[in-house]
């Protein structure tokens, strides 16, 4: 089967999954105790005008599917509703914060790719104590949750050594990057270890394979064997895993932003949960879930492009 059909199938699956996810995020409103209206206004006194505004925003007079339709149509036009607390359009509250989150995740992703691949390839090619030490370290690092890594990094590098600021996001671009060093490492640590372990396994499998043994026995230079035969094939599983791992950073960012007070989408989400500002919660969860699903699909497609056997094989599966 052609790559085109495969892409079309993935695109349809992507749209369906996004619709299902949005339905779940919207329908959550009906899982809350009480009526949607009492849930949206809980814990505060609202004027009749505010009540009418919330009712109108969620179209609560209409049926569920019609409400959902209005909401999705709004979201597609960039209208995520109005913050109950901030009385401002949700989208206007998200912009700058989304950029902060993007910076954090991008920074962590770069660390994961550079260090994870370097450690994994080194361990995969150098058998013996180098390999064993790196893998013991990686296995240990995988057991460290991001928030624990954050606390330990703050203790060592901010409190004791004063190399980095404890909290805050910084002002200028350079300052911001400087403020992102500790959060980025904390967020990346476990994923670095994970990607390193997988890279090592993939490199080792290729290095032991028949075609590599043949290339070596034909007398090809070691560098050429490694770059053309080992790494090129090993990249296929690595790209998938690295991509999925980066997708999973989205949830980790919520916690890390909270620790370092970075004022991104994640810390705003936690704040909105505390303040019972449901339109904001809904919007952020939907955005993060959508980014995750799109990333997953991109990884899937990339995998198929790198390895044409996949699009052919999976059609029949």
């Amino acid at each position: 089967m052609s790559l085109g059909r495969f892409l079309l199938g993935r695109l349809i699956a992507l749209v369906v999954t996004l619709l299902l996810a949005s339905l779940a995020v919207y329908g959550a409103l009906y899982l809350a105790p009480g009526t949607p209206l009492s849930f949206l206004t809980r814990g505060r006194t609202v004027t009749p005008e505010e009540l009418a505004a919330i009712k109108a925003q969620y179209h609560l007079d209409e049926g569920f599917l019609s409400q959902y339709g209005h909401w999705v149509a709004g979201v597609l036009h960039g209208d995520f509703g109005t913050s109950i607390l901030g009385k401002a359009p949700v989208l206007s509250l998200l912009g700058g914060r989304a950029f902060n989150t993007f910076m954090l995740v991008a920074f962590a992703s770069i660390i994961i790719l550079i260090i994870g691949l370097t450690v994994g390839i080194t361990a995969g090619l150098k058998r013996g104590w180098v390999d064993r030490t790196l893998m013991v370290g990686a296995t240990g690092a995988m057991a460290v949750p991001a928030f624990v890594a954050a606390i330990v990094l703050v203790l060592i590098f901010a409190v004791n050594l004063h190399w980095f600021p404890v909290f805050g996001a910084g002002d200028s671009l350079g300052d911001r990057l400087y403020h992102l060093v500790l959060p980025g490492i904390a967020l990346a640590l476990a994923s670095v270890a994970y990607v390193a372990r997988l890279t090592r396994a993939a490199v080792r499998t290729e290095a032991d394979s028949d075609h590599v043994q043949t290339a070596v026995s034909r007398g090809l230079p070691r560098g050429a064997v490694i770059s053309r035969h080992v790494l090129r094939n090993a990249m296929i599983p690595i790209v998938t895993v690295a991509g999925l791992t980066i997708g999973s950073l989205i949830a980790g960012a919520v916690v890390i932003e909270q620790v370092f007070q970075l004022n991104g989408l994640g810390s705003y989400l936690v704040q909105a949960v505390g303040q019972k500002d449901f339109p904001v919660v809904q919007a952020i969860v939907l955005i993060l879930v959508a980014v995750f699903i799109v990333l997953n699909t991109v990884v899937d497609v990339l995998y198929a492009v790198l390895d044409p056997r996949i699009s052919a094989g999976r059609q029949s599966a």
Partner: protein, 292 residues
């Protein structure tokens, strides 16, 4: 789930039998140590509160950040509460909470995976697509959404987390069940006239149980991390109740003033347990995959 379990397209290569005896012995020791750590903390969670007479919530500001003293071997937190008592009571929610997540996600994921592998066709195709699209779904996001609906606490969050984990568990079990299904003995049983339900439950399920246990073990570690993270950001277990995640967060002001004990002790408990669980999970995965 912060990271995915090792489920690569290319499994670890089989080690050459150079030092197989010594290596097997070492692995055995590692697994025993990991199991010992796990059993120890489980016992602490179950029995510890009965054995300890100190009240984890009793505040005495005189002892703020106090050093260890007789009867208080780990010293005190910023409010003068006994750190050992808080760790022991915190073990309950931290160690037992994830069990619920593992149970729900394994039953749910197992049912979806086994039925999809057996029924096949369009049903399996749809299940496979959805599992792929939601694989490694950040369950923590669902848990936060659940908390925003019903308020802080672990119960709703655990259920939401389980749903988030289900695609991950289902994907692992489905691929094992598909392999099993293609084996000749299944066709033989079908020819003998055995019904689908009993083939799946009595023959396929026992044969993939090793993979299921391995996946459940690894998801216990992820669930422990996610629930502790939830408590850490203030949406899970609520202070003054004790929980390791709560303690890491509670300890931050002390940590900035040069008293990092509370955060570090609670962190050490989390890392020890998760490390042991991951180690066991990896070994179980290797054993289960080696056996097929």
């Amino acid at each position: 789930m912060s990271i995915l379990a090792v489920q690569s397209a290319s499994p670890e290569p089989v080690e050459m039998p150079t030092s197989s005896a010594g290596r097997a012995h070492r692995m055995g020791v590692g697994a025993w140590i990991a199991l010992g750590i796990l059993v120890f903390f489980m016992l602490v969670a179950l029995l510890g509160p009965l054995l300890i007479s100190t009240d984890p919530a009793s505040i005495s500001l005189m002892d703020s950040f106090g050093p260890p003293q007789p009867g208080h071997p780990l010293g005190f937190d910023g409010q003068g509460r006994d750190l050992l008592a808080r760790l022991v009571y915190g073990a309950r929610s931290s160690m037992l909470g994830p069990i619920l997540v593992v149970l729900i996600s394994t039953v749910l994921g197992g049912t979806i995976a086994l039925s999809a592998a057996w029924i096949g066709g369009a049903y399996d195709a749809v299940v496979a697509r959805v599992i792929d699209a939601l694989f490694a779904f950040p369950g923590l996001l669902l848990a936060i959404l659940a908390v925003s609906l019903v308020g802080p606490g672990l119960l709703a969050a655990s259920i939401a987390l389980s749903i988030g984990y289900t695609p991950y568990v289902a994907r692992i079990i489905r691929s094992a069940a598909l392999q099993e299904r293609s084996l000749p003995y299944v066709s033989a049983l079908t020819v003998q006239g055995l019904g689908g339900t009993s083939i799946v439950l009595r023959h396929i399920l026992p044969n993939v149980s090793g993979i299921i246990v391995a996946a459940a073990t690894l998801s216990y570690g992820y669930a422990l991390i996610d629930l502790a993270a939830l408590s850490f950001i203030g949406l899970g277990v609520q202070p003054p109740a004790s929980d390791w995640g709560v303690m890491v967060a509670d300890g931050v002001p002390g940590l900035l003033q040069g008293y990092p004990q509370e955060s570090l002790y609670a962190s050490a408990c989390i890392v020890l347990v998760v490390g042991a669980v991951n180690f066991l999970g990896d070994r179980l995965t290797e054993t289960a995959e080696g056996g097929r």
